[in-house]
Amino acid sequence: MNSIKVSRAYGAVVEGEAVVSEEGFSPRYDLDRWSGVITKPGHKLEGTSIVDKICFFPTAKGGIAAGWAFYDIKWKKIAPKAFIFGVTNPVMVQGAVFAGIPITEGWSPHPREVVKTGDWVRVDPAGRRIEVLKRRS
């Protein structure tokens, strides 16, 4: 098994290295917006950079301010290549679309059965599909 179907999606086709999180994400609460590293103490990805990564998060956290944060990190060239959410919220989608960052919601099967951090994946929003192209060696 090397692909995942998603329910909703926006953006262009992108390829990149996967970062798979067991914990939800907020660009305001969890991320250092100057380095692109998750710095929230105790976050399951604490110390991990999301720059140029394809990020898998089960849920979205945080409030309205997240909407500008995606544009901010894109401007600073520390944005991920795509956000893959199990469940997201309007703010994340509004923010990602505004910044031109591909975003998807809903997944089957669960990414933990298909993809591991470090694998090279391809996100095809129009095809509602994520594919693992190369396993981490």
Binding site: R8, A9, Y10, R28, Y29, D30, R33, K40, P41, T59, A60, K61, G62, G63, I64, A65, A66, G67, W68, A69, Y71, D72, K74, W75, K76, V87, N89, P90, V91, V93, Q94, G95, V97, F98, I103, E105
Partner: protein, 408 residues
């Protein structure tokens, strides 16, 4: 999405390049959520300041203003990150203050009414039942949906601004009847005498049901709740649960009757609330920072605080901060509440909210603050990224802690 002739004309550029780009963006967001069409909005409330937007956001606003972007409906701004009269004393960056002023100027060029308040629903605009609006922050949205019966999703800054330029928003989420029904019932078997208690209810209910589309139905409460109580309840539900709507039987306009409650049920009791307060860790016992903010204080909150601080003094070495908007501050001065607070050594910040203050982490380090005490369940939840240990206490207890320097 099905577009009206007017919307097609906007996409064709008939209302200018800024409106065309805004609608194009809204179409993408609407497509993502499966919106079938747009709904007209009558009011927009947007978050936009230099702390949340950064240099890129400022450049974007300047470019849009230069393209001729103009609001077509009444548009107000949320609390921002600086009170210019205090920013030097608060240790905020002078360079960022310059950018913040440029940002405000760009918004005004677009005809945005810079009210700088997160309590627009108490002081600026009260939409009616069924009225579609495009609001953010989350506390404003849940109040609009729940207490007024108006209709809004959480609209991030870029989305709210787009709605201001086009006068519409994609129809999904809380604009649709199907998402506005109660999904679980909460019996309030508690006294709830203080505003912090209402926030604590929001924490208990929100944390256990984190979902934008979870809609709690409160019932069984022994009296009629006041606006400030519903404000703290809603702000906490939105913060802990990412919720956008609640019902309150006999109080809010779209609530079901007591005989028609959802089948899933929970109860909040006095013992549950005491457990919430007990569970906050006191850290190193530092009691030098007490904050009344998030949301900004209403006039009645200012009145109550002034009664509690009368003839008292904030303990030497401690800091007590109150935030409110310019209208409330003016009335508080006219009525003498602000003078009482200032005589007690309280710092009143205008047009800001504490948790979005520019430079807050360095401010915390410089002052060696480790704990933050507040009567707002929302702010004790959302300030974690700045590495405060936060402690929720009732309003009178917060005042006591500010004046004694002793954390109880």
């Amino acid at each position: 999405m099905q577009l009206t002739p007017e919307e097609q004309a906007i996409l064709g550029g008939e209302r200018g390049e800024a409106a065309r780009r805004a609608l194009e963006y809204q179409v993408e967001v609407g497509r993502f959520w499966g919106a079938k069409r747009f709904v007209p909005v009558t009011n927009v409330h947007m978050m936009g300041d230099i702390e949340v937007m950064g240099d890129g956001g400022l450049a974007y606003l300047n470019a849009e203003a230069a393209r001729g972007a103009r609001c077509v409906v009444g548009t107000t701004t949320n609390a921002r990150c600086m009170d210019f009269a205090h920013c030097e004393r608060m240790g905020q960056d002078a360079g960022e203050a310059v950018k913040e002023k440029q940002l405000i100027a760009a918004l005004r060029r677009m005809d945005v009414v810079t009210t700088d308040t997160c309590i627009n629903y108490q002081t600026v605009y009260q939409p009616h039942l069924g009225e579609h609006v495009a609001w953010g922050d989350t506390g404003t949205v849940i109040y609009a949906n729940s207490v007024f019966g108006a209709r809004s999703n959480f609209e991030a800054g870029p989305a709210a601004l787009a709605a201001a330029l086009t006068g519409r928003t994609p129809e999904y989420g809380f604009h649709l009847d199907e998402h506005r029904k109660g999904t679980f019932a909460v019996e309030l078997n508690a006294r709830l005498d203080d505003l912090a208690d209402w926030g604590a209810v929001g924490k208990l209910v929100g944390e256990s049901h984190q979902n934008y589309y979870a809609v709690p139905v409160f019932h069984g409460y022994h009296r009629i709740p006041k606006a400030d109580e519903l404000k703290h309840l809603g702000a906490a539900l939105a913060s802990y649960g990412s919720m956008g709507m609640f019902h309150f039987v006999g109080v809010t306009p779209e609530a079901p009757s007591a005989a028609n409650l959802p089948s899933e049920k929970m109860v909040v009791s006095d013992a549950d609330l005491e457990r919430v307060y007990r569970n906050y860790k006191r850290g190193d016992g530092d009691a030098r920072l007490v904050v009344f903010s998030g949301p900004q204080q209403s006039l009645f909150e200012m009145k109550y605080l002034s009664s509690l601080f009368k003839d008292k003094k904030v303990k030497g070495g401690s800091t007590c901060i109150v935030t409110t908007n310019s209208a409330i501050l003016k009335q508080s001065r006219d009525l003498g509440y602000a003078q009482v607070l200032e005589a007690a050594g309280v710092t009143i910040l205008e047009g800001v909210c504490f948790y979005i203050l520019q430079n807050l982490s360095p401010m915390r380090e410089k002052n060696r603050w480790t704990n933050m005490v507040s009567n707002s369940a929302k702010i004790v939840n959302i300030i974690g990224a700045h590495r405060f240990n936060t402690i929720l206490r009732r309003t009178a207890d917060c005042v006591e802690i500010a004046c004694s320097g002793i954390l109880k």
